[in-house]
């Protein structure tokens, strides 16, 4: 493989940053599960909640916690579960980048696995936009220009990944053609 040395540095850096982001979001997911699900013990008989795992740090919030009702607790679980899920999606997203860069590093990025990875990335990027759009439509919210631009930026990223997936499938087919002719 005639890969120059400057590729080594570039691929290494890209893999490193992707890995750091993966680790960051994995920690985030663990943290959200931890603070969302573990610390609060709910006593169904008295309707009281207490922080048993985090201990002293959150003891002063105890009075606030006891005033919460079950609905609030459920909302809290859903919210933290959602945050954790988003973090896990981010881990999945950066894992795809990591694997694609690794395949390029090993010499041949034009494999159908990379096309699948790219389309996975595209859908992960599009999912929150589609979800937010659905919620806005259901709630009949008036259009918000700032949010629209933000959504357009994220969806352009997602759509670009889906298009790149097509391009890579094309590349993989080309690679197979080449191998057939040799």
């Amino acid at each position: 493989m005639a890969y120059e040395t400057r590729n080594v540095a570039l691929f290494g850096a890209a893999r490193g940053v992707a890995f750091v982001l993966m680790a960051f979001f994995a920690l985030g997911a663990a943290l959200f599960v931890w603070i969302g699900f573990v610390p609060i013990a709910y006593d169904g008989a008295t309707g009281e909640m207490s922080y048993q795992v985090l201990g002293d740090n959150l003891e002063r919030d105890h009075s606030i916690a006891t005033s919460l009702d079950v609905t609030m607790l459920t909302a809290r679980w859903i919210l933290h579960g959602l945050y954790a899920a988003i973090c896990l999606l981010a881990v999945l997203f950066f894992a795809q980048i990591y694997l694609i860069v690794r395949s390029a590093q090993r010499g041949d990025p034009f494999i159908s696995a990379n096309a699948t990875r790219l389309s996975r990335m595209g859908w992960i990027a599009l999912a929150p936009v589609l979800a937010a759009l659905t919620v806005r439509l259901l709630r009949l919210d008036p259009p918000d220009p700032t949010q629209a631009v933000e959504m357009a930026i994220v969806s352009s990223l997602g759509l670009s990944f889906l298009i790149l997936a097509r391009v890579f499938r094309h590349g993989a087919a080309m690679r197979e053609d080449l191998e057939g002719t040799v």
Partner: protein, 167 residues
């Protein structure tokens, strides 16, 4: 084949629509910032002088975003023409990577310039400013991924040339 083609067309159409929507929004933002700068310079020279750095950086950032989107649009066009593996695309991706890095630097600049402009006293009125900016890890990753993709596309162009030679 036709179904995959029409699906591809919807995808390409969607991407083009979003890219052009963003181009229009950023162009509008450019007009807005430039006119605010001009009006500000006339109406309140004192404030305008202190805002000059921020406004100028903002204009540069919007310029970078416009160029980035323009290049993205051209790449999407090349996919529509079924010729994505070209040296032109490799160059475009390379330029987009540097634009993404430059955008990070200007975002850092905005963060700096904004940090000592939290409260501005002018003509007896205190104005509270809120500026974003700073360095984003995912922005740096975007630049790196674009550089990698640039290399990948160059390899793709080599592969296509090889195929062209063998056929």
């Amino acid at each position: 084949m036709t179904s995959s083609n029409s699906r591809r067309d919807i995808l390409l159409l969607g991407c083009r629509v979003v890219v052009y929507l963003l181009l229009v929004s950023f162009a509008l933002a450019l007009v807005l910032v430039v006119s605010v700068t001009i009006v500000g310079a006339v109406a309140n020279p004192d404030l305008a002088q202190r805002m000059a750095g921020l406004n100028l950086t903002g204009i540069v950032m919007i310029g970078i975003a416009l160029r980035f989107l323009w290049l993205l649009g051209r790449i999407v066009d090349s996919v529509a023409e079924e010729d994505p593996f070209s040296r032109a695309n490799a160059r475009r991706l390379h330029e987009m990577a540097w634009l993404a890095l430059a955008f990070q630097l200007t975002a850092l600049l905005i963060h700096w310039l904004g940090s000592d402009m939290r409260l501005v006293h002018t003509r007896g009125v205190t104005v509270l400013f809120s500026t974003g900016g700073g360095i984003y890890v995912h922005g740096v990753l975007l630049a790196l991924v674009l550089l990698v993709l640039g290399r990948v596309f160059r390899k793709g162009a080599d592969m296509r040339d090889e195929l062209g030679a063998t056929v």
